[in-house]
């Protein structure tokens, strides 16, 4: 089974996608400046869907940083929890 999504796992996935070391990616680095592009970002969304988190690509696209994305993930998890309660 796949691991649940975490900030560090996201960092690893992004690093693999753009072929750089995960230590090189800071939370607030603009991922586009590091070589991420729309097509690779879409692949990440698909990958994370497999990990159980359905992220909205357009929201990710407005601010491509790990910190920004992690916020989206957290909000997504919160909203699901809220909806369930």
């Amino acid at each position: 089974m796949t691991k649940p999504l975490s900030l560090d796992l996201m960092r690893e996935d992004v690093a693999a996608m753009i072929h750089i070391g995960s230590a090189e990616i800071g939370d607030d680095d603009n991922l586009m400046d590091l070589g991420l592009d729309s097509m690779r970002a879409m692949n990440l969304v698909l990958l994370w869907q497999e990990r159980g988190v359905d992220l909205d690509f357009s929201q990710m696209a407005t601010r491509p940083t790990l910190a920004g994305w992690w916020q989206l993930v957290k909000r997504h998890i919160d909203e699901i929890a809220e909806a369930r309660s």
């Binding site: 072929h19 586009m32 070589g35 592009d37 729309s38 097509m39 601010r63 909203e79 909806a83």
Partner: protein, 1316 residues
């Protein structure tokens, strides 16, 4: 709270925004074609279940409020206004009471999709909900491409679903969409940014030296009003393999698919360097990512497909390029087009579009089932390959969208199958570490159709050899006539005896199996006897043309070593080889045994041009040529009644079937006189006289033959074309003039004459005309550079296989091995590489596309340019040489050689010296028409020769004195017209030095005949090839005897200057009456009289007046040579003038003044009774300048009229009797033709000179206004004379000034009108 979730509250007072650049692109495209609804994008979602309609309407309402970009009106090329009333609120449509709720809903949606929108007023987005039943709905969403793109449509759809789900099921509410001005502002900021400068710089570099981009199909890439779509799912195992490849290579599967689609495209255009279009969302990393509007960009992706290296490495390279491109993807494609000057639809920035859509577009509505169907995604300019879905879900579809103006329906389907297959195979190859080279382009199904079905030609053929079959016929048809030549003939039995006798003599001299006997005889009975005798002796015959240079002949003799030459008695000896001439031949056989032939024995050896300068001797065996001949006999049903004309020189392999086929079926063979094959008039005569049923033409010669008036109306069984491309126009022209089947054959000398056939018979509308299907026991393959079959419609190399292949190039093993290679599809067999390019049509017929190498075809002869280059380079002062086939004038192909000289400077006469030198090695047909000496050969950036920069040769005249005599002037004018060379010409200018060649010579003769009524024959031109000499010949010859009666007569001395006037003969057919008027038009106004052909009793009379007018129009256009054409005609001449104006307009000639001298439409005469006897004589009087009605006492007899004419000193009185009879005949003919003529409409102005003295009082009812239905406008001028005097001296005083003024006025007006 994040920054982007705080929605900027739009300032309601600011309603006006500029367009995004992407919107501007769509705006321009739509404004070019405002009625085209293809810019409407749309889809519908079928919803099953208990939809909360109120909640849904609320969700749509909220979306409409958020997405202000959807409610804009576009009021100009850079203004959009957010219009409150255009917000797309949900429209509800209850279909439940309809008999077919869904069908009606679909129809309503289709109607809406097909309705073009007014960008300035109509709502550009629409949301509809059709209720089909209690729990069945259709949600229809339609937006103009101005306000959305694929990404924005997804945003809108998902956002509505999100709001609905939050309302009905308490799902997450999600973030609001972003307002339009955010996207507009962001783009504005980008445009001024440093980044945009960097992006522009990147693309400038990326597109530098991009080769001209082609699409899959030629033609204008501009969207039709709809497109065709074929969709298919990729097999789950392809999805799995794709993901596996993505994982092992760490490349995204999307990039893999894009690159492979590029490789697929490259296979179809036979180029490794290709450019495809890749849609780019244009908003990643920008707050505009949540603005629903049109922002998409299309980036050109340049790929250099590597067939040889590891596929994985190439895929990684391609993905790297895509990543770099995307980083600079904001730079607009429209801007790249402008920078590269690629405006308009003809020149492209990219070929196919490849679109990857990894997200599921389907909205999920809580508690409901949904299915999405796309109705339109915007224009498809050419072809779009879309991969949609997620391979991880094993759900990946391929959609192929095509422009129906460029692709036929079946092609879309084929691409979908083939690309899906290709992707699957390529992914497997990559996983296995292989290269692209090993991946087939076509599917297995296509492969078996191309290689097997189309080549299923197995057919039993006799195992008798050519000589045995001939011997069989000699027995079967013994008493029939076999052969005719120049009034002599031979029966089959006689031919048997003669050939047996000679065969015995040859055998005695060593002729036998695999020996070669050369033949140099001219066309004659003896020639046929020689060829058959050689075959019967068991040897192979080898035709040689003694007209070829000595060096070439010597090389051929050295490499082929014939044991004997069969040549004319007085012919030059060929080295040490014995010449055995007809007078020495025995005529009665002694009954000695002859050499036996087998299927594998050599039958003939024909030499063709070779690239290294060494001619190639093609050896054809009996079994090969028997297959060809038996196929032809049976396929075309040749029988004993057939008469075949032998006219092709024997060194050209078409002659082989001409020589022997008639004998296979008991028919007869007619041998054309030597050199007659170059003379269309002689051909037409022989075909008629000898009742020929079958004849062959090289297409260029067929064209000359059809231009020959004598060919009109010939009826035969069949005409075969081969040797060069048969154009569709030529085929159509053929069927207009000649009644016969026309068949197009194709084949190189290396495969026993022809290997394919196509019936280009009447009714065939193929464009271009195919070379067709393989003959018996023959296979045609169209393969790419790696010997893989290419798909239907794709250019490839044509290979041949089967029983007709030649054995070898004599004595050239290496070359044989290079051109005859192993057939990869049939173990142990060979195939021949033709060097021709071809493609397979959807019906399997092969189309010939041209040569792939340095070899050309000129007038049916295959020529290696390399052989010519070698000859020129062997000149001691030439340092570099390039030879090119040029077509500087449409339809006029000429060989031109370019050379650089030692020291760089050209001496006077260097060109002539080089040409003379080359002439020692090359036959005439290979000699360049011009040698151009250059300082240096033009090269491109890579230092390679750039053929496009080679200058057109200037064929300039100017030797000797200016032409003086009438005939000199005439010949000079004809040279100028036909050679299209730079004048003015002088009397010592030579036709052939000026670029003339044999077909142009034929044309010259034709026009000479059409102008003078006499033709000296083509042979005369070879002897008298300068203007002065040819003119002198005409002075002496028959042309001078008929002076004044020729079809085109110059009426005044004016040479050049103003546009010429053509005066059309009246009823009598002569134009002498116009002399005064012609002279009065001024010294700068050439005037020509067009006289009736039928004055010459040998000429066939035209069948209708319109035929006559068409023929005149053609001659007039030739003389006018693209100048404006004025026509004047009196009486019937006026009717002709109007009809000629109609034809000239059709021919796109510039028609000037059309002046009628008291002429009236045919309707006025149609119902009149035929003029009684004496009418012709009356007309003769009128032509002589007398009013016949004013001579009541003159008896209307021939003698009385002649005497009267002579006494009145009319020039007619001095005409020979034959000419007068001709005139009488012409008068009768014209009276008849006028009654049958129906006028076409000429839309221009007509100037009418009315004979006022007749018309004022008469009751004839002849009114110029009767022309009105047939002309554009009418200007009537009265001349106070009677009809009969309208060209006389007094008339000239009245008419000439008005006519002159009209001519000038027309030319000035026209000149002005031509200015933009």
């Amino acid at each position: 709270m994040t920054a982007q979730s705080v929605r900027a509250v739009p300032d309601r007072s600011v309603r006006e925004l500029p367009l995004t650049q992407a919107q501007s692109g769509i705006w321009f495209a739509q404004s070019i074609d405002p009625a085209n609804p293809v810019f409407n994008t749309g889809h519908y979602v079928e919803i099953d279940g208990k939809l909360d309609v109120a909640a849904f309407a609320t969700a749509v309402r909220q979306l409409a409020m958020e997405a202000d970009g959807l409610s804009v009106r576009i009021t100009g090329k850079d203004v959009q206004i957010v219009e409150e009333r255009n917000r797309p609120l949900l429209e509800l449509e209850d279909m439940t009471l309809r008999s077919d709720p869904k069908g009606d809903a679909l129809a309503a949606m289709q109607t809406d999709m097909n309705s073009p929108l007014d960008l300035a007023g109509d709502p550009l987005a629409r949301e509809m909900l059709f209720r089909l039943g209690a729990e069945r709905y259709i949600w229809y969403q339609r937006m103009h491409h101005m306000v959305t793109d694929g990404f924005a449509t997804g945003l809108v759809t998902q956002r509505i679903a999100e709001i609905y789900n939050a309302t009905v099921a308490g799902g997450p509410k999600g973030a609001e969409l972003t307002a339009l001005d955010v996207a507009v502002d962001e783009e504005k900021a980008y445009r001024g940014s440093e980044r945009s400068g960097r992006d522009a710089g990147y693309w400038h570099e990326a597109l530098r030296d991009m080769p001209e981009v082609t699409g899959l199909k030629a033609g204008l890439a501009r969207s039709a009003s709809s497109y065709d779509r074929v969709e298919r799912m990729l097999a789950p195992d392809i999805c799995d393999s794709l993901l596996r490849l993505a994982r092992t290579t760490q490349l995204s599967w999307a990039d893999l698919l894009t690159a492979l689609a590029g490789a697929y495209f490259s296979r179809h255009v036979r180029r490794n360097e290709i450019t495809i279009g890749v849609p780019f969302m244009g908003r990643f990393g920008s707050p505009a990512a949540r603005v629903p509007t049109m922002l998409m960009n299309i980036l050109p992706l340049r790929l250099d497909v590597d067939e040889e290296g590891g596929l994985v490495q190439w895929l990684a390279q391609a993905a790297g390029r895509m990543a770099r491109d995307r980083r600079h993807g904001r730079h607009r494609g429209e801007q790249m087009r402008r920078d590269l000057g690629l405006l308009g639809g003809q020149r492209r920035l990219y070929g196919p579009l490849v679109n990857i859509l990894p997200f599921d577009a389907l909205p999920r509505l809580t508690g409901l089932e949904t299915r999405l169907t796309t109705l339109g995604t915007g224009p498809v300019d050419d072809i779009t390959f879309t991969f949609r879905g997620d391979p991880a879900a094993r759900c990946l579809s391929l959609e192929v969208d095509t422009n129906p103006l460029l692709y036929e329906a079946g092609e879309t389907q084929s691409h979908a199958k083939r690309l899906a297959n290709f992707v699957g195979a390529a992914v497997e190859a990559a996983l296995a570490g292989r290269s692209l080279r090993e991946v087939a382009t076509v599917t297995d199904e296509e492969r078996s159709w191309l290689l097997e079905r189309l080549n299923d030609t197995a057919h039993p053929v006799t195992d008798r050899t050519l000589s045995q079959l001939l011997e069989d016929s000699f027995v079967s048809f013994a008493d029939r006539q076999a052969l005719r030549f120049g009034g002599r003939s031979l029966t089959y039995a006689e031919l048997d005896r003669r050939t047996a006798a000679l065969a015995e003599a040859l055998a005695e001299r060593g002729a036998g199996r695999n020996a070669i006997v050369a033949v140099t005889l001219p066309r004659s009975l003896d020639l046929v006897v020689a060829l058959i005798a050689i075959l019967r002796a068991g040897a192979a015959y080898m035709p040689l043309d003694l007209g070829h240079p000595r060096e070439r002949l010597d090389r051929i003799l050295a490499s082929s070593r014939p044991i004997l030459v069969l040549g004319a008695k007085d012919s030059e000896p060929l080295g040490t080889i014995e010449v055995f001439s007809p007078p020495a031949w025995p005529t009665e056989p002694q009954g000695r045994a002859l050499g036996q032939t087998a299927g594998g024995s050599a039958a003939y050896v024909i030499y063709t041009s070779g690239s290294t300068g060494e001619p190639k001797g093609v050896v054809i065996e009996h079994a090969a040529i028997v297959n060809r001949l038996e196929w032809m006999r049976q396929h075309y049903d040749f029988g004993p009644s057939d008469v075949i004309l032998q006219k092709t020189p024997m060194t050209f392999d078409v002659s082989v079937w001409e020589f022997f086929l008639a004998f296979f079926s008991g028919g007869s063979l007619v041998i054309a006189p030597p050199d007659a094959h170059k003379d269309p008039r002689a051909m037409a005569q022989i075909i008629r006289d000898e009742k020929v049923t079958t004849v062959h033409f090289v297409p260029s010669m067929l064209s000359a033959f059809l231009a020959e008036p004598g060919s009109r109306g010939i009826a035969m069984k069949r005409v075969f074309c081969s040797g060069e491309e048969l154009t569709a126009d030529l085929r159509d022209r053929f069927h207009e003039r000649i009644t016969a089947e026309l068949h197009n054959l194709y084949g190189p000398t290396e495969a026993a004459v022809d290997v394919s056939y196509w019936p280009a018979v009447a009714g065939d509308s193929s464009r271009p005309v195919p070379i067709g299907y393989p003959v018996w026991n023959t296979r045609l393959y169209v393969l790419d550079d790696h010997l893989r079959p290419v798909p239907v419609g794709v250019e490839g190399h044509l290979y041949l296989a089967g029983v007709q292949l030649a054995r070898e190039y004599l004595g050239q093993e290496e070359l044989t091995a290079k051109r005859f290679v192993a057939d990869p599809f049939h173990a142990g067999e060979r195939m021949y590489c033709t060097g021709d390019l071809a493609r397979v049509r959807a019906d399997g017929a092969i189309l010939y596309l041209g040569r792939s190498d340095h070899q050309i075809k000129l007038r049916g002869l295959r020529i290696e340019l390399g052989e010519i280059e070698t000859a020129i380079l062997s000149h001691p002062s030439v340092t570099q040489a390039v030879v090119d086939l040029r077509e500087d004038q449409a339809g006029e192909k000429r060989i031109v050689a370019y050379a650089t000289l030692e020291g760089g400077e050209a001496d006077d006469g260097a060109e002539g010296d080089i040409l003379t030198h080359a002439g020692r090695f090359l036959p005439d047909y290979m000699l360049p028409s011009a040698i151009v000496v250059l300082h240096a050969l033009p090269v491109n950036a890579n230092g390679k020769l750039d053929r496009r920069l080679l200058p057109a040769p200037v064929f300039a005249g100017g030797r000797g004195l200016a032409p003086v005599t009438e005939n000199e002037k005439l010949v000079a004018m004809l040279f100028e017209r036909i050679l299209q060379a730079e004048g003015p010409f002088q009397v010592d200018d030579d036709f052939f030095d000026l670029g003339g060649h044999s077909l142009l010579a034929v044309e010259l003769m034709l026009h000479l005949r059409e102008t003078t009524g006499h033709e000296p024959g083509i042979g005369v031109l070879f002897e008298h090839s300068t203007i002065g000499k040819l003119a002198k010949h005409l002075d002496r010859g028959a042309a001078s005897e008929g002076a004044g009666l020729q079809p085109l007569v110059k009426l005044n001395a004016a040479e050049r200057g103003r546009a010429p006037v053509f005066m059309l003969h009246p009823a009598g057919g002569l134009c002498w009456c116009y002399n005064g008027l012609a002279r009065a038009l001024g010294a700068d106004r050439p005037a020509w009289g067009v006289q009736a052909l039928a004055l010459d009793p040998d000429e066939q009379a035209p069948e209708t007046l319109d035929d006559m007018a068409r023929d005149y129009a053609r001659r007039i256009a030739f003389i006018a040579d693209r100048q404006m054409i004025h026509v004047v005609g009196w009486s019937i001449g006026g009717i002709l003038a109007q009809a000629i104006a109609v034809h000239l307009t059709e021919m796109e000639q510039k028609v000037g003044v059309v002046a009628l001298l008291d002429a009236y439409p045919c309707d006025c005469w149609r119902d009149e009774p035929d003029p009684g006897p004496g009418a012709e004589l009356k007309a003769l009087l009128a032509i002589g300048g007398h009013d016949p009605d004013g001579l009541p006492e003159l008896p209307l007899t021939r003698e009385a009229v002649m005497t009267f004419l002579a006494e009145s000193e009319s020039p007619l009185g001095r005409l020979p009797a034959a000419a007068l009879d001709g005139m009488v005949r012409v008068v009768a003919l014209n009276n008849r033709l006028v009654r049958g003529h129906r006028h076409g409409r000429y839309d221009g102005p007509v100037l009418h000179f009315r004979a006022a003295k007749d018309r004022a009082s008469d009751g004839t009812g002849l009114r110029p206004e009767s022309w009105m239905p047939y002309i554009g406008s009418l200007d009537i001028r009265d001349v106070p004379l009677v009809h009969a005097h309208m060209t006389g001296a007094e008339a000239v005083l009245h008419v000439a000034p008005m006519l002159k003024a009209a001519l000038l006025e027309h030319e000035m007006g026209r000149a002005k009108g031509d200015e933009p």
